[in-house]
């Protein structure tokens, strides 16, 4: 892909997200000058970046949005809720076009028409001509800033670090409210320049001055961070404006310097980081080779073995640190991924005619890039499902005394090495009896077995391939892709899904996903004299049981574990081989469709952290193979996907 376009896909989405964030603030506080500024800058920069591509319609609507924000910024007119809705609609459309650019390399033929419709009723945007654009680019965004930078050019030019310019215009009646604006400014950290100016260009004459009127504007430049400054002015946010100045900025280029202070951020092609992670994985494997060496040395020379072990420990520590550093590089905030969801929710809700309030929390949680990339699809599917099948129509909601708007919330939280994502709706909940009936009707399960299922087992049926409870296939869900796709996607990310549902009150899907994904913890098991790796995240427990505890059950075998009868399958049998049948029997307990299943193996061996490569070649066609890894002694270990084996 064209490098420019690739960069635009990333930065464009970031700008859309930044603008959305500012608009979210403005929804609650339409006069927030800082948010208006941030939104304006995002629109302005977006407009600038779309001109690099052939995106006239995008340029037009962004120009209209920029215009609207500019008026609000100059105080000519505040933003009405209608304005904010229009700005959100513009951003949503830009986001859609960015998606289209990524998919097809161009935006659809009807784009100009879409832009026209979005612009109907918008304050008249000036026609865009190249001359206009140039003029706009060379005019600093804010006159006060240009004047301040000119007055204080010397200090600003000396600043090694990024600076923030501020303009604080206290209300005229501030003194009557007991405020002392300069005392507030005295608390500003890192102040390097200060000016106190008359608000309308000249101080009143001695015989006209009103001593208790707070007619003054305080402008300054600080070397503190924008956040520290916002903190200082937190009590008067509506009276202050900020402008970030990049380190050693050209004073007159006020507009360029308005970009986020991110001079030390390096954008690296994700593939390079992936390659680095692969190499670290190989290094971990290579380091694992020391353990058996130590064992062999032990037999020859205890002192030599000790030295090897010491060297091994040192190497492992260093490799561990390296692995953590590389993992940290791959960690990205979920915010850009999740920023696309609100728009999707609006579209789905509009399509179904069900108004929905959608709240996202914890989107700053950082996860491995692979997880962030992989979770959007399953999450979107769950969101669709919640709006389509969970949230009731308006009439039903009214009868149950629920608010007219369906409530949908996504909460992300870090839990140790995992992240938890909960998607809760306040809809109808899942009707268990109906789930069982449908599963039986679709031939997914026998009636008897269905009625014997536990609550969790019943709920897990909705993930069975071919299951869909919607009586009518709607345009939104049920296009042949069921919830089984969600489970498959989450399992590919080595995660799991749990469902909680209270009939009449709502449903909560909880995804548990690993935050880091470079190495996988494996248990090496022996089956028919071969060794296989089994991912730890698929193992509930390992147990050794005597012959007396294995009970024949029908044609198979079962075992009572923690007061539950658990079917026992032979892993060798599943792989088309024979196990040795020795006792005590070694059982590896996993879950299939929410129910525990024990797999009998011939032996448990070491645990290892390994880089699992996706299966390739012939193996790629076998769903029970998750991948391969190289063990310390150089042998290739097949890593099994046991949930697939027992399904």
């Amino acid at each position: 892909m064209d490098e420019l376009l690739e960069q635009f896909l990333v930065e464009g989405r970031e700008l859309v997200a930044a603008a959305h964030e500012a608009l979210a603030v403005l929804t609650g506080d339409p006069a927030n000058a800082d948010a208006v500024d941030r939104a304006f800058r995002a629109f302005h920069t977006l407009k600038g970046s779309v001109t690099l591509f052939d995106l006239k319609p995008a340029e037009h609507i962004l120009h209209a949005g920029e215009d609207l924000l500019d008026r609000a910024r100059k105080g000519a007119a505040g933003l009405s809720s209608g304005d904010i809705a229009r700005l959100i609609a513009i951003l949503d459309q830009i986001d859609r076009w960015i998606d289209a650019l990524e998919r097809e390399g161009e935006i659809e033929a009807g784009a100009a028409g879409i832009a026209e419709r979005l612009l109907i009723g918008a304050p008249r945007a000036q026609a865009i001509t190249p001359a206009d654009d140039e003029q706009q680019a060379s005019t600093p965004a804010e006159p006060w800033l240009a004047a301040l930078l000119e007055r204080r050019a010397a200090v600003v030019a000396q600043g090694e670090d990024a600076l923030v310019a501020f303009r604080y215009a206290p209300d005229r009646d501030a003194f009557f409210r007991g405020e002392d604006p300069l005392a507030l400014v005295g608390g500003v950290p890192g102040l390097i320049a200060l000016d106190i100016l008359p608000p309308d260009g000249h101080w009143p004459a001695a015989d006209a001055i009103e001593p208790f009127e707070c007619g003054m504007v305080i402008e300054g430049v600080s070397a503190a961070t924008p956040d520290a400054l916002r903190q200082s002015f937190r009590l008067v946010p509506d009276q202050v404006r900020f402008h970030s100045l990049a380190a050693r900025a050209q004073p007159a280029k006020g507009d360029d310097s308005g970009l986020p202070l991110a001079a030390s951020v390096l954008r690296v092609d994700a593939r390079r980081v992936d390659a680095l992670a692969d190499d670290v994985g190989e290094l971990i494997v290579a380091a694992n080779a020391f353990a058996p060496l130590g064992d062999r040395a032990e037999a020859l020379d205890a002192g030599f073995a000790l030295d090897i072990r010491a060297a091994q420990a040192g190497l492992e520590r260093a490799v561990g640190r390296l692995s953590r550093s590389v993992s940290a590089v791959r960690l990205i905030s979920l915010a850009p991924t999740l920023a696309r969801l609100p728009r999707m929710v609006r579209e789905i809700a509009d399509g179904l005619g069900k108004p929905v309030d959608f709240a996202v929390s914890g989107e700053q949680v950082e996860v491995d890039k692979q997880i962030a990339d992989g979770l959007f699809e399953p999450l979107l599917h769950l969101v669709r499902n919640a709006i389509d099948h969970g949230i009731e129509d308006a009439a039903t909601r009214a009868r149950s005394g629920k608010p007219a708007n369906g409530q949908l919330a996504l909460a992300v939280a870090r839990d140790g090495d995992d992240i938890l994502m909960s998607l809760s709706d306040d809809g109808a909940g899942i009707d268990r009896a109906r789930v069982r009936d449908v599963a039986v009707a679709r031939g997914l399960i026998e009636r008897e077995a269905a009625d014997a299922l536990s609550d969790a087992g019943t709920l897990a049926l909705i993930f069975a391939p071919g299951f869909s409870t919607a009586a009518a296939v709607t345009g939104v869900s049920g296009r042949g892709v069921g919830m089984d796709a969600v489970q498959a996607a989450v399992e590919r990310l080595r995660g799991g899904v749990e469902i909680e549902s209270v009939p009449g009150h709502g449903t909560r899907f909880q995804l548990r996903l690993p935050a880091n994904a470079i190495t996988t913890r494996l248990l090496v098991v022996e089956v028919a004299r071969d060794r296989y790796g089994v991912p730890f995240d698929q193992i509930s427990e390992t147990v050794r049981v005597g012959a007396d505890r294995l009970i024949p059950l029908g044609t198979g075998t079962a075992c009572v574990l923690r007061d539950r009868t658990v079917p026992v399958l032979s892993l060798a049998g599943l792989l088309g081989m024979a196990d040795d049948g020795g006792f005590p029997a070694k059982l590896l307990v996993t879950r299939a469709g929410g129910e525990p299943v024990a797999l009998r193996v011939d032996g448990f061996h070491e645990r290892l952290d390994a880089m699992v490569r996706p299966p390739s070649g012939l193996l790629a066609g076998l769903p029970m193979v998750r991948g391969t890894t190289v063990t310390g002694d150089g042998a290739v270990l097949l890593v099994l996907n046991i949930s697939e084996l027992v399904a």
């Binding site: 003194f175 300069l182 005295g186 200060l194 008359p198 101080w203 707070c214």
Partner: protein, 87 residues
């Protein structure tokens, strides 16, 4: 704070309050050539500072508050070539 008028000098002392602005204004309206002595002032109120910026009397001394001494006092005494107001 106290504002004390002694002949041609207005002595401003201690920590300032918004009320200080009025006696200073009255004294300067009566005689614009009066000198404002800030050498015993700790911290001036914004209202006082605004007044001094607008009327530009001759200033002696500076408030002891570090912020005001460093950033505000220079504005009060930079007569003539002070900040050029934007307009």
């Amino acid at each position: 704070m106290s504002v004390r008028i002694a002949g041609s000098t207005i002595h401003v002392e201690g920590n300032g309050l918004v009320e200080d602005a009025e006696p200073i204004l009255v004294a300067l309206q009566a005689d614009p050539k009066r000198i404002v002595d800030l050498s015993r002032a700790a911290k001036l109120h914004s209202a006082t500072i605004r007044l001094l910026l607008a009327l530009r009397p001759r200033i002696v001394g500076a408030p002891s508050d570090p912020f005001q001494a460093e950033h505000v006092a220079p504005l009060l005494i930079s007569n003539g070539d002070g900040p050029v107001p934007f307009g």
